[in-house]
Structure formats: C-alpha cells, structure tokens
C-alpha cells in the first residue's frame, strides 16, 4: 500500500515537473521569447522545449553570425531560446549542421547515411564514438530533422550543432 502511494505521488510529481516546463508558467522575472515552440526529442533524455525567436534584435544577431563563415558555408542561422526564456544564457543558434553519433564499435558509411537521410556528410568529429557532422539539406526545420534521426535504431544520438551559450571565465 505504501508502495502504491509512493508510485501515485511519483506520477503526480512527474506531471507537475512536466507542467513546469510550460511557457505559460515562466517566471515573471524573465523575458519571454516570442515565437513558435519546438520540442527537441533527444534519445534517452527528457524532451526540451525551444522557442524560435521572432525578435528583431535576434535578426541582427543572425546577420553578424553569418559573417563567421565563408560564403560557401553561409547559412541563415535561427535563434532559439531554451524553455522560452529570452536571455543570453538560454540562447542557442543554429549553424545549419547536425551532429550524429553512432557509438563505439559501430563503424558506419557516413556518405551513404547522409544520402539516405537528406544530409551532406561534412567530416567525422569523434572517431571514438563515430560521431560526424552533417549539413542539413531539407527545409523541414532542423529540430524536426533531428527528432527524426533520433528515431533511427542505428543512431546513438543526433543533435543540432548549435552555437551554445558559453562564456569566458
């Protein structure tokens, strides 16, 4: 009986925890990002909510980031805010690339994988875990494509190659 009670409480807490991710409940102390909500579904991890920004200041940021690569690699970056909180520390910017990891002892034909999944193979970035960088070729949206790749049994994980929030210390 005690175990049943604990299980019910666990479900209640999990539900509450899921609900707290709702952008409707964000703290009033944080600026709320305006834009469409996307759910990033990484393998073996809780879903993460990202809001794609429609802020005009972020558009200016996009053009500055575009200068960071040669013309052949230039993509149109998109700005996302984790949990919908608009701050520098929750800002993730797309680079047009996806990282796909296949795991130790699982060699894979990267180019063939790329062709099968509408990607362009760029290079292997981790030979221990057989992780590679791919360029996204379709217009369906980067997070959507990452979610699809994470459903493939051969994929250990796929994730956007972000410009993640890092800072000098």
């Amino acid at each position: 009986m005690k175990q049943l009670g604990q299980f019910i409480l666990y479900i209640v807490i999990l539900t509450a925890f899921s609900c707290q991710l709702s952008p409707l409940l964000f703290s009033q102390t944080n600026k709320r990002a305006v834009g469409k909500e996307h759910v990033l579904k990484l393998k073996n991890r809780s879903p993460q909510i990202f809001v794609k920004s429609e802020d005009s200041e972020d558009a200016g940021l996009d053009s500055r980031i575009n200068l960071n690569r040669s013309a052949s690699e230039t993509v149109i970056p998109q700005v996302y805010y984790r949990n919908g909180i608009q701050s520098e520390s929750t800002r993730y910017i797309t680079t047009g690339h996806i990282t796909v990891s296949f795991g130790k002892d699982k060699k894979i034909a990267y180019k063939q994988f790329a062709a099968e999944n509408k990607l362009k193979f760029i290079r292997e970035i981790n030979h221990l875990y057989h992780t590679a960088l791919f360029k996204v070729l379709v217009e369906t949206g980067l997070i959507q494509q990452v979610n699809l790749l994470n459903q493939l049994p051969t994929v250990r994980y796929a994730k956007p190659d972000w410009i993640s929030p890092r800072k000098l210390r």
Partner: protein, 425 residues
C-alpha cells in the same frame, strides 16, 4: 589554449607559439591571432617566453603553445574539435557554460577521446576554470564535474578566498586569480576588454596588462605547472598529473572553516571546497613528478539502487549503499534520477565510509541566503552526474550515505534511482 586565440606576433609569445599546430576557426588558417585579448592573456600566464628581455615570464617559459580559437565562431563542433586535437599534451580551458543549465554540451565525449587516445594513451591533461559566479562549481557542467578534468578555483593575491570563485567538491586545486592586485600578463594591443598597463613607459605598444583576473587566470597557472611536470617526466598519465597536483598542494587560509568536515573525522588529505586540496605548489609537484611511479590501472566500482521515495517537504531523506570492493579512491560520481519541482530548494551530500562529506548540490550562501532562484525551477538534476575529488586516497569499502535535504516549503520531489561510481586504483 582553447580560447579566443593567441596573438601570433606578440613579442613575448611568438617564440613559443607553434603556428603549424594552431588553428583559426574563423578564417580557417593557422594564424590564431584573435580579435579579443582573453586567450593572449591566458597564454602569457602559461608560457610567456623567459629570459628574452621582454615584459613577463610564464609559469612554463619554454613550453610550446598551440592557439585554438573556437570562440571566434562559437560553433559546438569547433569547440569539440579543439578539445580533441590529438597532438596536444595539455588542454587549457578558461571558459564554461554561460548559465547553470546543467546541460551537457556533448563536449565530454571529445574529452574522453583525448583521454583515451591523446599522448599515446596517457591522456591529454584537461584543465578547466571553475567559473566566477561564487557558486557551486559541481553544478556547472558535466565537463567540470568529470574525473577527466582538473577544475581550478581562484585565490586572491595573499592566498585567501576571492569574492567570485566557484567552489565545490569537484575543485581539485586553486591558483592565484588576482584580487588585488590582479595578474600581470600579455595583452592584445588595441583590445578594450580590460585595461592595458597605462603608466609604464616600456608598454607603449600596449602588449601587457596588469588587470587580468578570475578563474580564467588561475586555470592557466595550473596548466603551466602541468607543463613543467610533463617536462620533468613525459611518462605521467593524466591521472598521475591530477594525483600529484592534489597531493603536493599547499594548504592556504589556514583558519578557514571549510577545511573541517565531519567532527571527529580525519581526512586522508585535507580538503576545502573553496580551495580543493590547496594552492598549486609548482616546486613540490615537479619534484614529485620526477621518477613518479605511475598509478596502477584505473578500477571502477559501480553500484546502483532503484527505489521510489517521496522526499519530505522541508526535511531530510537518507539513503545508504554498501561497497565491498577495496580500492584507493581517486574520484567519485553520483547520478540521481530525481524529479523535483524546485531544485533550488534542495541540497545533496554524500558521506563516505570514513565519514568525510562531499556537498554536491547546494543553493545557499554562507549566511543561509538562497540564491538558486528564478530560472532554477525549470531545471533538473535528474540524470546529471555530480563528481567529487574530496575522497582521494580513502578506502572505498563500507557504507556510503546519501542525504537529500529539502530546505524550503512548497516544493516536492521523488528519488527513483541513484548510482555511485567510484574510480581509483
């Protein structure tokens, strides 16, 4: 140097900078000259050339520097490339996540690659700055809590606690981080991030600053000492380097209350979450490095428990786990499956069989003020791996105790699973 880059023509750095191995991610060339000063200042602390009649001398004045500037693009894959460069002996990193998101970057498996394949299998020595938020460094990122890295706190100019340095049971060592006076080192002329030296007649080119500080300056000091150690003994593994640095540290701020833990318990090595095992001791570390017999192969003990336990609102839940395998501990990891409506309300601590305590999560400052507010309720410790170095050389056998304290009302949580990984020899 994984940073903003290093000025290639700096008079105090150019003779130590290896341009063949350096890389500029922005313009895809081997010239790592940056647009910001930070990397150049860190580089000078490690290896400004010595005895060349120029301004400053680094900790390891005849060490080759490799300038890598992933901050020029910010791309995840550029950082990961920089962390896994196979020909690097020491990776000095004065950066971290810009929030307490508990979000692994994915950087750790690139570090793992460097550990497994770098230096002919002896492992790259990874040094990371603990951060300047006056906060729990263990909840910073899985890189900073990892057994693969050396996380460095900062002390002030007289070896005392700084106002800013992060702290925690994952701090291995501390080193000077300015405050006050700050650190004098190399600078990128024309940069305005922090002041160049204004009043010195021989700094008319603006090549030096006397205003560099933070754990950003403490970490390269440790990287410099690691370089001296490898010059003394090329056969040291990354674990040897960590072990020697910890066991040769100089105790500082002797009356600080952080040096004590449980009453009546004697640590094998004294530890303080603000200082790690103390301040880096270059002389002692290099002497010990010479002729050091490498630590025997790493042994991992892993044990885990699944149990659904509701955590008491404003209360403490205690759990225990028995370990029967005997090793000398180097590092302990704790991973929880913990659902909680506000992790800003909870503290987590792990007590070893010897009775020493690792405080892994905490959200109060010394006066009891709760600083984990605002965004904290949107994050989770679930699946996050806390690390502790504070049980170094203790024996693993006995009962390990986990305590989760809920310190404020109106928040709820459940522990469903916890695992303990003990690494040692």
């Amino acid at each position: 140097m994984v940073d903003t880059g290093v000025e290639a023509l700096h008079p105090d750095l150019k003779d130590n900078l290896n341009l063949d191995l350096s890389w500029n991610y922005l313009n895809q060339t081997k010239d790592p000259t940056p647009t910001g000063a930070h990397g150049t200042s860190c580089a000078g602390i490690i290896a400004a050339r010595g005895w060349n009649n120029e301004g400053v001398r680094g900790v390891a004045p005849f060490t080759q520097l490799v300038g890598l500037n992933p901050f020029s693009t910010g791309y995840d894959n550029d950082f990961q490339d920089a962390l896994a460069r196979p020909y690097v002996d020491i990776s000095s990193n004065s950066w971290g996540p810009s929030s307490w998101s508990l979000e692994p970057f994915g950087d750790l498996e690139y570090i793992e690659q460097g550990i497994e394949t770098g230096r002919g299998g002896k492992g790259i020595v990874y040094v990371f700055a603990a951060g300047n938020d006056g906060f729990n460094a263990n909840a910073s990122s899985n890189v900073h809590s990892s057994r693969y890295t050396i996380t460095v706190a900062a002390v002030d100019a007289v070896g005392g606690k700084t106002t800013y340095s992060n702290y925690g049971s994952n701090i291995l060592i501390s080193a000077p981080g300015g405050e006050i006076p700050n650190i004098m080192t190399t600078y990128l002329p024309g940069s305005d991030e922090y002041p160049s030296i204004k009043n010195y007649a021989d700094n008319t080119d603006g090549n030096y600053t006397d205003d560099f500080d933070g754990t950003s300056s403490a970490a390269p000091m440790v990287s410099g000492v690691a370089a001296l150690m490898l010059q003394a003994n090329r056969n040291l593994t990354y674990r040897d380097v960590k072990y020697i640095i910890a066991t040769t540290a100089r105790k500082t701020d002797l009356t600080h209350s952080g040096w004590t833990n449980s009453i009546g318990v004697t640590s094998v090595h004294e530890f303080n979450p603000y200082y790690g095992f103390g301040v880096i001791n270059a002389d002692a570390a290099v002497k010990k490095a010479k002729g050091f017999t490498t630590l025997s192969e790493e042994i991992e003990i892993k044990t885990e428990k699944s149990e659904y336990i509701a955590l008491t609102d404003v209360g403490t839940e205690a759990f225990s786990m028995d370990i029967n395998d005997s090793i000398a501990i180097e590092h302990v990891d704790l991973q929880l499956m913990l659902a909680h409506t506000n992790i800003g309300d909870i503290e987590i601590e792990l007590e070893s069989p010897r009775g020493t305590i690792s405080k892994l999560a905490f959200c109060r400052d010394i006066s009891g003020y709760f600083y984990c507010t605002g965004d904290w309720k949107y994050y989770s410790y679930s699946g996050y791996k806390f690390g502790s170095v504070r049980h170094l050389d203790e024996n693993s056998v006995g009962t390990w105790k986990l305590r989760i304290k809920d310190l404020r009302s109106n928040s709820w949580g459940t522990l469903s699973h916890w695992s303990l990984q003990i690494f040692g020899h």
